[in-house]
C-alpha cells in the first residue's frame, strides 16, 4: 500500500473534505446538534459535506439572496433531498408517499433525476427528519444518494424484454445494496436509532465500513447498467459501466467499462469529461465482486488532495488502463474474459404504450426536464397521483428524466389509459423529436453551483429552435440536446449532439458532435454566447444538415463530417 493515496495521518496534503470525513466519526459530525439549531435554517459547511452522504444538501433560493440580505434575513436556506431507488423502480405506494412529502414539506414538485432518483426541493431543516423517516418507512432510502460513495445504481428500465429487465434489475439492486455505507449514523440521526456512545476503535471502524473505511471514497462513484440496443443510462459516462450481454433471452453477463465521467471545471484543461473504456466481460455472479474491487482501487488510489481531480477517470488516465486491469486482476484473483459483441442504437427513451414479453403493458411518459408538477393547463402531478391510486404494477424512472408506468395488466390498461387521456398525460407525440430528446439540470434558483439558467430556460430555447427544424422538415428528427447550468454535467451534456454549458447568466458554451448512442464526446463549438448567437449558429447548421446529410446520418455525426467540430473519442482530446 506504499504507493497508494489512502489517507493516513502522515500522508501527503489532502483536501479539507478529507479532514471533515475523517473526524466525522462515520458521517455523524455535529449534525444532531446543528439540525436542532433554531436560529438558522442552515447548517455549517462541514456538516453540509456530511449531509450529502445522508442524501441531502443545503441550497438556497438564489433568486431571493440579495433581496433577503437587504431585508436583514439570511438566505432562504432549504434542503434538497434525493431519494434513491436502484434502477429507478418504485411501487405505486412509494410514488404516493413521494407525492405527499413534496406537498407537505417540499415546494410541491418532484424532480426525476438523470440517475433515476427522486429529488424533493425546498425542504426546511426542521422537516428533514420527518421526511427522511417517512421515506424509510416506505422502504426507500436517501443514504448515499449524494456524497463520496457509490451513488444510485442505474439500470435500463427496459419495457420490452421483461425477463431480461428482471434479471438485470436484480443485479443492479444487489450492487446497490452491497455498496451501501454501513455506518449506523444514518439510523441514529434520522430514524432515532441507538446512539453509539464511545468512539469505535480502529478495528471496529474497519468493521463498520469494510468497503469504504473511515474516509470513504475520494469522490462520488457511479455505476450504470445498459441493456443494448438502448444506451439510455449513458453507460460510457459511468465510473463503472456494465453492458448486459443477452443470448437466447438469457443474461450471460456484462461487458465492463471503466473511467467515464462528465464533470469538469471551466478554464481548467486538466479537467475534462471522459468516456469509459471497455476492458472485458464478467459473468453475472462475478459482478458484485468486480464492483467492490473496482471501488476499493479508487478508494486506495484516487486523488485525495485535489477534489476536482479525484474522480476515478483521472486515476485511470493518470496511471493507464493497463495498470488498472493489472491491479484489478490482482485484487480479484481472476481475469476478465474478452468483451463480447454488442450494439447500441440510441440513448434516448421510446415513448407511449409498449407490450412487454410477459404480456404486460408499459406506458412511457415524456416529462419535460423531469419536473413533476401541476400547471394550470397540465395537471401532470394530479394525473400521476390518480394513476398511482389504481395502479398495481410499478413506476420506473428513466435515465432521461422520463417516467414509465410499468407492468400494467391488460385488465388495468383500460383504466390507466382513461386517466392518461383525462389528464392529457403526454407521450411526447405533440412535441418535436428534439424536445423529446432534451434534458436540462435543475440549476437556478436552488442549485448552488449554477452559473446560468437551465431547467427554467431550455424549454423556451427549444421553442425557438423548433421552428428552425420545422422549416426544413426535421421536426421528427431525433437529435439529442442537453443543457446544464455549470460544467459539472448533471444532464450529461458532454455526450449530447447539441449541448450548452452555462458560463454566466444568459451565456453558454455551445458544444456539438456527441454520439447519438452516447459513445462519443461533444466538442466546444462556440464559447460564451447568448441566445441570439446560439440561434444564428444553429439555424445555419440545421439548414446545412437538412440539405447535405447522408441517409440516416445523425446530427452529431454530420457536424463532424462537415468540419464544424473535431471528433472526440477520449476526454484527453476534449480541449485539444
Amino acid at each position: 500500500m506504499s504507493d497508494n493515496n489512502l489517507l493516513s495521518p502522515n500522508s501527503a496534503p489532502h483536501s479539507d473534505v478529507e479532514d471533515i470525513k475523517r473526524s466525522s466519526n462515520y458521517l455523524r459530525g455535529n449534525l444532531r446538534e446543528t439540525l436542532e439549531d433554531r436560529i438558522t435554517a442552515s447548517i455549517p459547511e462541514d456538516d453540509n459535506r456530511l449531509m450529502k452522504f445522508h442524501g441531502s444538501y443545503m441550497q438556497d433560493d438564489r433568486d431571493l439572496r440579495n433581496e433577503r440580505n437587504k431585508q436583514k434575513l439570511e438566505p432562504a436556506y432549504q434542503f434538497m433531498l434525493r431519494v434513491r431507488a436502484a434502477g429507478g423502480v418504485v411501487t405505486p405506494d412509494q410514488w404516493l408517499m413521494m407525492d405527499s412529502l413534496s406537498e407537505r414539506y417540499g415546494n410541491g414538485t418532484i424532480r426525476l433525476t438523470t440517475r433515476q432518483s427522486f429529488q424533493l426541493h425546498g425542504l426546511l431543516k426542521w422537516n428533514l427528519k420527518q421526511t427522511i423517516k417517512e421515506v424509510n418507512d416506505s422502504l426507500l432510502t436517501t443514504i448515499a444518494a449524494c456524497g463520496d460513495v457509490n451513488r444510485n445504481v442505474m439500470c435500463n428500465p427496459n419495457p420490452y424484454q421483461s425477463e431480461i429487465h428482471e434479471q438485470v434489475y436484480a443485479w443492479a439492486s444487489e450492487l446497490s445494496k452491497h455498496l451501501e455505507p454501513r455506518t449506523l449514523a444514518y439510523h441514529e440521526i434520522w430514524l432515532d436509532g441507538e446512539k453509539v456512545e464511545s468512539s469505535p476503535s480502529k478495528e471496529e471502524q474497519q468493521e463498520q465500513e469494510p468497503i469504504y473505511g473511515a474516509v470513504y471514497l475520494p469522490r462520488k462513484f457511479k455505476i450504470g447498467v445498459a441493456v443494448p440496443p438502448s444506451n439510455d443510462v449513458d453507460v460510457y459516462s459511468q465510473d463503472l459501466g456494465l453492458i448486459a450481454i443477452v443470448e437466447d433471452s438469457k443474461l450471460q453477463g456484462f461487458n465492463v467499462t471503466v473511467g467515464g465521467g462528465m464533470g469538469m471545471t471551466h478554464g481548467d484543461t486538466h479537467t475534462y469529461p471522459q468516456v469509459g473504456q471497455l476492458i472485458g466481460f464478467c459473468r453475472p455472479e462475478q459482478v458484485v465482486e468486480l464492483a467492490e474491487k473496482t471501488v476499493t482501487i479508487q478508494r486506495d488510489y484516487g486523488d485525495r488532495a485535489v477534489r476536482k481531480h479525484a474522480r476515478f477517470k483521472y486515476t485511470i488516465d493518470d496511471r493507464g488502463i493497463d495498470w488498472f486491469i493489472e491491479e484489478l486482476t490482482k485484487r480479484l484473483g481472476w481475469s476478465l474474459e474478452d468483451a463480447r459483441p454488442y450494439h447500441f442504437e440510441h440513448n434516448g427513451d421510446r415513448y407511449g404504450w409498449v407490450k412487454g414479453s410477459d404480456g404486460r403493458w408499459h406506458y412511457t411518459l415524456f416529462i419535460q426536464n423531469g419536473r413533476i408538477k401541476d400547471e394550470d393547463d397540465y395537471l401532470l402531478k394530479t394525473g400521476l397521483r390518480e394513476i398511482a391510486k389504481v395502479h398495481s404494477g410499478d413506476f420506473r424512472l428513466t435515465a432521461n428524466q422520463n417516467l414509465i408506468i410499468g407492468g400494467v395488466t391488460s385488465y388495468k390498461k383500460k383504466k390507466i389509459d382513461e386517466l392518461v387521456q383525462k389528464y392529457g398525460l403526454s407521450d411526447g407525440a405533440n412535441y418535436t423529436a428534439l424536445r423529446r430528446n432534451s434534458m436540462a439540470c435543475v440549476a437556478f434558483p436552488t442549485c448552488g453551483l449554477a452559473m446560468a439558467e437551465s431547467e427554467r430556460y431550455l424549454p423556451s430555447l427549444l421553442d425557438k429552435i423548433e421552428p428552425l427544424l420545422q422549416e426544413v422538415g426535421l421536426a421528427e428528427e431525433d437529435i439529442v440536446i442537453r443543457m446544464t447550468g455549470c460544467p459539472n454535467g448533471c444532464a450529461r451534456p458532454a455526450l449530447a449532439e447539441i449541448a450548452f454549458i452555462g458560463k454566466a447568466p444568459g451565456k453558454y458554451n455551445m458544444y456539438l458532435g456527441g454520439g447519438f448512442t452516447g459513445d462519443r464526446l461533444s466538442k466546444l463549438f462556440k464559447e460564451n454566447i447568448g441566445e441570439a448567437e446560439i440561434l444564428d449558429s444553429l439555424s445555419a447548421i440545421i439548414k446545412h444538415f437538412a440539405a447535405d446529410r447522408r441517409a440516416g446520418e445523425h446530427f452529431g455525426d454530420f457536424v463532424i463530417r462537415s468540419g464544424y467540430v473535431k471528433e472526440v473519442r477520449s476526454g484527453l482530446d476534449f480541449h485539444a
Binding site: 433581496e67 439570511e74 426546511l124 426542521w126
Partner: protein
Amino acid sequence: MVLQVTNSPFNEEQVELLNRLLPGLNDAQRVWLSGYLTAMLGTAAVEAAPIATAAASQTVTVSTAASAIPTTSEPSSEVQVVAPVSKEVTVLYGSQTGNAKGLAQQLSRRLEGEGFQVATVSMGDLKPNQLKKIERLLLLVSTHGEGEPPDAAISFYEFLHSKRAPRLDGLEFSVLALGDTSYEFFCQTGKDFDQRLEELGGKRIAERADCDVDFDEAATEWMNQVLAALNAGLGAGSDTTVHANMSQVTGDQASGNSSAYSRTNPFKAEILENLNLNGRGSERETRHIELSLEGSGLQYQPGDCLAIYPENHPQLVQDILEAMGWSGEEFVTINKNGEQKPLRDALLTHYEITVLTKPLLIQVAALTGNAQLQELVQPGHEAELKSYLNGRDLLDLIQDFSLLGYAAQEITSILRKIPPRQYSISSSPTAYPDEVHITVRTVSYESYGRARYGVCSTQLAQRAEVGDYLPVYIQQNDHFRLPDNPDTPIIMIGPGTGVAPFRAFLGEREETGATGKSWLFYGDQHFTTDFLYQIEWQRWLKDGVLTRMEVAFSRDTAEKVYVQHRMLEHSREVYEWLEEGAVIYVCGDEKRMAHGVHATLLQIIEREGGLNAEQAVEYLARLQQGKRYLRDIY
C-alpha cells in the same frame, strides 16, 4: 411700610383707606385678612385666566372676589390651613409612555419658578410610609388598556386602594388624568386616584382634569388652576407672577434634552431608509425605517420611543370630502389661536378621522339632533355604543347618520387633534449617531365592508419614501433602560416588533463593550419570512454580544409555539439568571403576549424556586420594585 400710589397698585382713595386701616391691626387680624384675600383670589383666578395683562386681571379679580365673599365659610378655619410657611409640593406621576412624566417635569419647573420646593417622584419609587408626610400632592397618571394603571404605578395603586392605606386628612391634592376617549375606560386610573384620595380625607384644591390624547391645552389649564390654588392657599407670591405664567404656553420638555425640538415643535426628520423586513410570502409587513436626526440636537437612549405625527390616508380624506359635499379648498380654523388651513390639508394633517369616540358622538348628536344618535349616547346604551365605536371611522359616522349638509367648520371643530404615534426605537444612538431607527408593523384590516389602514403604519409602508420628511420628537422612556452596571445579565422577551428596543440594547452593549450576559426570546409566525433582523442577531450571537437566543415560530408547526413555551423549556436557566441578578425586559403586545409572559414567569419562579403562588407573586413584585422586571407593552 406706608402705602403710596407710587409703590403700590392702588389709587389714592384706596391708599388712604388702607393706610388708615392697616397700622391698627394686631397680628391675628393681619393673618386673618391675608388668608381671606387669598381665598378670594383662588376662586377668581380660574375665571381670570384668559386675561392677558396683569393690571387688567387685578381689577377683575378683586371685583369678582368681592361678590363671592358672602358664600365663603367661617374664615378662621382657613387660617389654620394657610398658616404654615412650608412651600413643599410633591408631584407624583405614573407614566407608561412618558407623557405623564413629561407633564410632571413641566409642572415641577413651573412650581419651582414660583418658589416652591418640589419633589418629583415616580409612583414606582414612592415608599408607602412617605405618603403620610406629604402635605400637597399633585398626581399625574395615565390609563392603559381596559382602565389599567401604568406598570410602574400598579404597586402604589394597589396599596392606596387597600386597607393598609393611611388616612390622609389634611392632604391637599389634585389629579391630572391622561387617557384616550376612544377607549371605554377613559382616564379610569386618574378617576380612581382622585376618588380614593378624597375618601382617605384629602382635600381637592383643583378639580381633576381628564385629558384626551391631545392633552396639551387641557393639561396647561389644569396646571394654571393648580398653581393659582397653591399660591392662594399660601397667601404668597404675587398675582402678577401667577398671571404672567398662566398666559404663557409652556414648551414641552418631555424629551428632557436641550434640543429646540419637542412634542409641540417636532423635528422634520429625513427618511434615509425604508424597507420591508418580512420576506416574500409573509402575511406580515414590517417596515424598518431609518431617519436622520442630523442638526436636530435630539438625543435619545436605548429604550426611548420616537413619536411621529402622521398624516391621514388621502383616499379616506377624499371619501369624506365627497360624502360631505365639501370641496376641500374651504378654510377652517384649527385652533384657539385662530390659525386657518384649507380643509383638505387640515383633514390630512391636523384632525383625527380614523377613530370615533364617545365625546365626539355626543357632540355630533347635539349638533344634528339626530334621534338615533342621541339615544345611542344616552346612559344605558353603553354596550351598543361601544360596539358602534369599535372599528368605525368618521366616514362611517357621516354615512350612517347622514351628516351631509353641515359646514366643514361645524364638524372639524368637534374633531380631536391627530395624536402622534410612538414607536420603540430600534437603534443604538452610539451605533448610529445622528440616526434613529424604528420598526413598524403595517396594520390593515377589513371592517364593515371597507379596508381600514393603520394611520401611521400605512403612511410609512405606502407613502413615506426615502428623502421625505416626517415630523418627530423623542419620547423619553426612563422606566425601560439598560442596567447601569454593564455586567448585569439581561433577559429580553420581545416577539414581533417587540424586539425593536432590544436591537437598540444590543447595539449599545456592543458599542460600549458591556460584558453582561444577554438572552433574547423572540417569536413570530414563520421562521423563513418573519425573523426580524435575523442576520443581526446571528452576528451578535457569533460575536458574543448576545449570549443566547430562543425563537418560537407559531405557524411553522402543527401546534402553535410561543415565546412562553421557550421560556418554560428553559425554566431552570431562566430562574438561575434571575437569581444571578438578571434584569428581565418584556416588550410588545400586551393582551396576547405580556399577560402570558407574566403568568409564565410566575410559573417558572414557583417551580424553580420551590415557592407557592403567593410567594411567586411577591418575588416578581420585588423584581418589579427593584426595577428588574421592566415592561414596554402596548
